[in-house]
């Protein structure tokens, strides 16, 4: 037990076969030979600390947080700082030498099944460690300023650390069981965080909604994971991917479609894909740092990460596994990115604008996965984490200053909050994808991959490509609107706005730096390091991924003007200052706008179509069961007891009582003398009896 099973890193080198470069694209075909430089040694063997340290921090804050000088914040910050540092070191060594390692310890045996707890150290997980560490560190720094004076400050950092820790458990998971444990840790801590201000009932509702929607999706993940594990005979990703890579016909290939679909439903819930996206905008009820972390590095990235982890299954080179699911994935992603973008246009709450924007960007990532573009999807995840965290923190800074979430209470903050303004602009440019900001590279790569897939047999990708370009236009439009309404024109609020304290401003600058530069690590045609970093995986196989060899100029020439047109139209409509919000929102398209404002009636449908109709009958059935069955049993038992009691009573009054009276008189005298020690307090009796026990025990030992 607790044997350290240092599993030998599996190196499955597929026969090298250079993919032919086509249309500015390189089809890797899964056969690029990568020889990892690091497969053992202390650097990776101690990487379990990344997972354990935040979890230990949770307990330290829980037990001693309130007594510490910064109320537990410093512990959380220290833990995340450690993760960030370790992640950076791993990132460096992975970039220079390549790391593939899987460590595990056995924690329990159930029959023949060995439950293992492990940690993956490969390109994919290292990227996530880095992301959670760095973004988390900056957000935690910011949160100290933002949460100052909160009544549950320490508790907030307990759940926040658990949130980050759960994500790290999920990322480190070498098997589906641990992944699900992390998945649920993230789910439960997000519930705690969303409902952090539980005094307001609406926030509790938002937390419940997030929990319920995620649970619906989790059911899919559980079923999918179980089918997959049963058909492969192992929960380990390495074994599953082994089966997939070798194209073994068997149970997995037989149920591949349903397995893939069910697991994708799980990913849809966490990554907020249409139509399960409804929880994410409501999750805005939590404190802003929570939104920032939730929308950037943790939680919503979990679904995309899972798709990335099982990518060989979905890319399906053998043609017998989850390949058919990919069309569903790309369509869901495409619909999400297109439909939710429109909702962002009509929102007044600045955080809701950003929330729907996140859903839309997640749509891009999922669609990229569906198009078979592993690198592109994860690259967008990587860059998006930085600029969306930045946008949320900047929005939080604005909210902190004007004490309102609504853009109708803002305006003209450009001069009053220069740092917030400029960092928000940087985040916006990155999000809408203007060269050379981060979003330009990642979004362009996704669109290029869709084009490539469209030309190579995945017909639906062509359609999604058009949606993707339209989505870029919508993104530009609503972000321009948000910037114009928040930072330009006249100030309309009531509080006196001021720049946020340094503790909150510095993380903005830090994230702003990444928002500008994060894209350069995968500059098609110049430097494509990110592609090779992600190619080191456990087990080491070719990815079947296709990624850009150079910029696709035709696409750039379509997308960039589209984006600029979105900015121009947005500015034309919202740039001029108007006295009131009503005057600003004169631009409305009759049928569409009410549709967007009512969120396509999806929430109403869930409430009226599913929640209410099921709640009523279930309550009635339970009531009926209780009234008739349970009470019936009780009544029968009661009647039986009554009969027995009657018999006993006859015996009692005639036989026993006579005897009793005789003895009773004798005992009465004894009882009244002992009476004083009977206080009627059970606890006192317990205490005395244990004193007796101790005395007897001591006597036994001494004698």
């Amino acid at each position: 037990m607790y044997r350290l099973l240092t599993l030998a890193s599996q190196v499955v080198l597929a026969a090298g076969e250079e993919g032919a470069a086509e249309g500015g694209h390189e089809a890797e075909g899964g056969h690029e030979a990568i020889v990892p430089g690091i497969t053992d040694g202390p650097l990776v063997e101690w990487a379990w600390l990344i997972v354990v340290v935040p979890i230990i921090a949770v307990f330290i804050i829980l037990f001693w947080g309130k007594k510490l000088p910064f109320k537990g914040w410093e512990v959380a910050e220290g833990a995340l700082g450690f993760v960030a540092l370790y992640g950076t070191v791993l990132m460096y060594f992975n970039a220079t030498q390549g790391i593939v390692y899987e460590g595990a310890i056995e924690i329990a045996r159930i029959g023949d099944y060995h439950l293992e707890w492990g940690w993956m150290v490969d390109g994919l997980s290292i990227m996530m460690y880095f992301l959670v560490g760095v973004v988390g560190l900056l957000v935690f720094t910011y949160a100290k300023g933002y949460m100052k004076g909160d009544v549950r400050f320490t508790w907030f950092f307990v759940s926040f650390s658990l949130f980050a820790g759960g994500m790290l458990v999920l990322v480190a998971a070498p098997n589906l069981i641990q992944l699900i444990v992390g998945w649920e840790l993230v789910g439960v801590s997000s519930y705690l965080l969303i409902a952090h201000y539980w005094e307001d009932f609406a926030n509790v509702d938002a937390g419940n909604k997030a929990f319920m929607v995620n649970k619906v999706a989790d059911a899919g993940l559980f079923l999918g994971a179980i089918i997959m594990a049963v058909s492969v005979g192992s929960f380990n990703f390495a074994d599953i991917i082994d089966v997939v890579v070798h194209g073994e016909e068997g149970m997995l290939s037989q149920y591949a479609f349903w397995t893939g679909l069910l697991i994708f439903i799980g990913a849809m819930g966490k990554s907020a894909q249409f139509p399960l996206h409804v929880w994410l905008p409501d999750a805005m009820a939590g404190p802003t740092p929570v939104s920032a972390l939730m929308h950037a590095a943790t939680m919503v990235t979990a679904g995309v990460y899972l798709l990335g982890r099982l990518f060989p299954f979905y890319i399906d080179e053998a043609g017998i596994f989850g390949g058919d699911v990919r069309d569903i994935i790309i369509v869901i992603g495409g619909l999400t990115l297109f439909l939710t973008g429109f909702i962002a246009i009509v929102q007044d709450d600045i955080k809701k604008v950003l929330a729907y924007s996140t859903v839309s960007q997640l749509g891009y990532m999922v669609a990229a996965m569906g198009a078979g573009a592993y690198t592109a999807g994860l690259f967008h995840l990587f860059t998006h984490a930085f600029f969306k965290a930045l946008l949320f923190l900047a929005a939080g800074s604005v909210i902190h200053a004007v004490h309102s979430n609504n853009m109708s209470d803002m305006g003209g903050l450009r001069k009053k909050m220069p740092i917030t303004f400029w960092t928000f602009i940087a985040g916006t440019l990155a999000l809408i994808g203007i060269f050379p900001f981060a979003g330009f590279f990642s979004k362009d790569e996704i669109l290029a991959s869709m084009k490539y897939s469209g030309q190579h047999g995945q017909d639906v990708a062509n359609f999604i490509l058009i949606l993707g370009i339209a989505g870029a236009f919508i993104t530009a439009f609503y972000m321009t609107r948000a910037v114009a309404l928040t930072f330009f024109g006249e100030y309309k609020g009531h509080a006196t706005p001021h720049e946020s304290p340094k503790m909150m401003a510095y993380p903005l600058i830090g994230l702003g730096f990444f928002a500008v530069t994060a894209g350069w690590i995968n500059f098609p045609g110049v430097y494509t390091g990110f592609t090779t970093w992600l190619a080191t995986r456990v087990p080491l196989t070719g990815m079947g991924d296709h990624h850009a060899d150079g910029l696709d100029w035709a696409l750039v020439l379509i997308v960039t003007p589209t984006v600029l047109a979105g900015v121009a139209i947005g500015w034309w409509l919202y740039g001029k200052d108007k006295a009131t919000q009503a005057e600003r929102d004169t631009f409305r398209i009759p049928v569409l706008w009410p549709l967007f404002e009512n969120l396509y009636y999806i929430d109403d449908f869930y409430m009226n179509g599913i929640v209410r109709p099921t709640m009523g009958p279930i309550a009635r059935i339970v009531l009926w069961w209780d009234m008739n069955v349970i009470d019936g049993i009780v009544n029968v038992v009661g009647a039986g007891s009554l009969g027995v009691a009657k018999v006993v009573r006859t015996v009692d009054s005639n036989v026993v009582d006579g005897l009793y009276n005789e003895i009773g008189a004798g005992v009465d005298g004894l009882g009244s003398s002992l009476r004083r020690s009977f206080t009627g307090r059970i606890q006192q009796y317990a205490a005395f009896s244990f004193i007796g026990v101790v005395v007897i025990a001591v006597l036994f030992i001494i004698l």
Partner: protein, 185 residues
């Protein structure tokens, strides 16, 4: 000499990796146990009980008693805690701090003294008797073995326990049921 047998030296003890794992489990368990009996927030006390029982479950897993460990998780953490929470909710105990959950210092001090003495006596006794005894490497208990023993050798106690459970079930329903008139006077 204080003890009848040699005890394991601390230096040797800390050299074993499993003991570190033991510490990682045992320390939170005991801290939570302490908070269970000392917290002045009723809900929190019960939630600390969850952590504490989870810790004992982890100790069982460490000892290779996987089935017992998972039973603790299912029965205690799953069901019994829910009962506790329902008990708290129904008795409408106010949430948040409450000074009225424990006795005052006049009871606490002797109780603490008694608990410490009891602990000291037990500890002394077990160290005296088993100070140097190591748990030898063992095979985890297989669930099927356990099941065979339970339904073979211990089948009568098992049946009795199940009868007790049934009686408790009916008893608690009868007790908790609201009597709306009828034969009650």
């Amino acid at each position: 000499m204080l003890f009848a047998v040699d005890i394991v030296s601390f230096a040797d003890w800390f050299k074993e990796a499993a003991n570190w794992a033991f510490l990682i489990i045992a320390v939170p368990t005991l801290l939570s146990a302490w908070r269970t009996v000392s917290s002045s927030n009723i809900v929190r006390a019960v939630l600390y009980l969850v952590v504490s029982l989870a810790g004992t479950a982890a100790l069982f897993l460490m000892l290779g008693a996987a089935f017992v460990g998972w039973t603790v998780v299912l029965v205690y953490i799953g069901a019994v805690i829910i009962l506790f929470l329902i008990g708290i909710m129904i008795t409408r105990a106010p949430l948040g701090m409450e000074s009225d959950l424990s006795h005052g210092r006049d009871v606490k001090t002797p109780a603490a003294l008694l608990a410490v003495v009891l602990f000291a006596v037990i500890t002394w006794a077990v160290v005296d008797a088993f100070g140097a005894s190591m748990i030898l490497p063992f095979e985890p208990t297989s669930t099927s073995d356990l099941a065979n023993i339970l339904f073979d050798r211990f089948v009568i106690p098992f049946e009795i326990v199940s009868f007790v459970l049934l009686a408790a079930l009916i008893g608690s329903i009868t007790l908790a049921r609201k009597d709306d008139g009828g034969e009650s006077e």
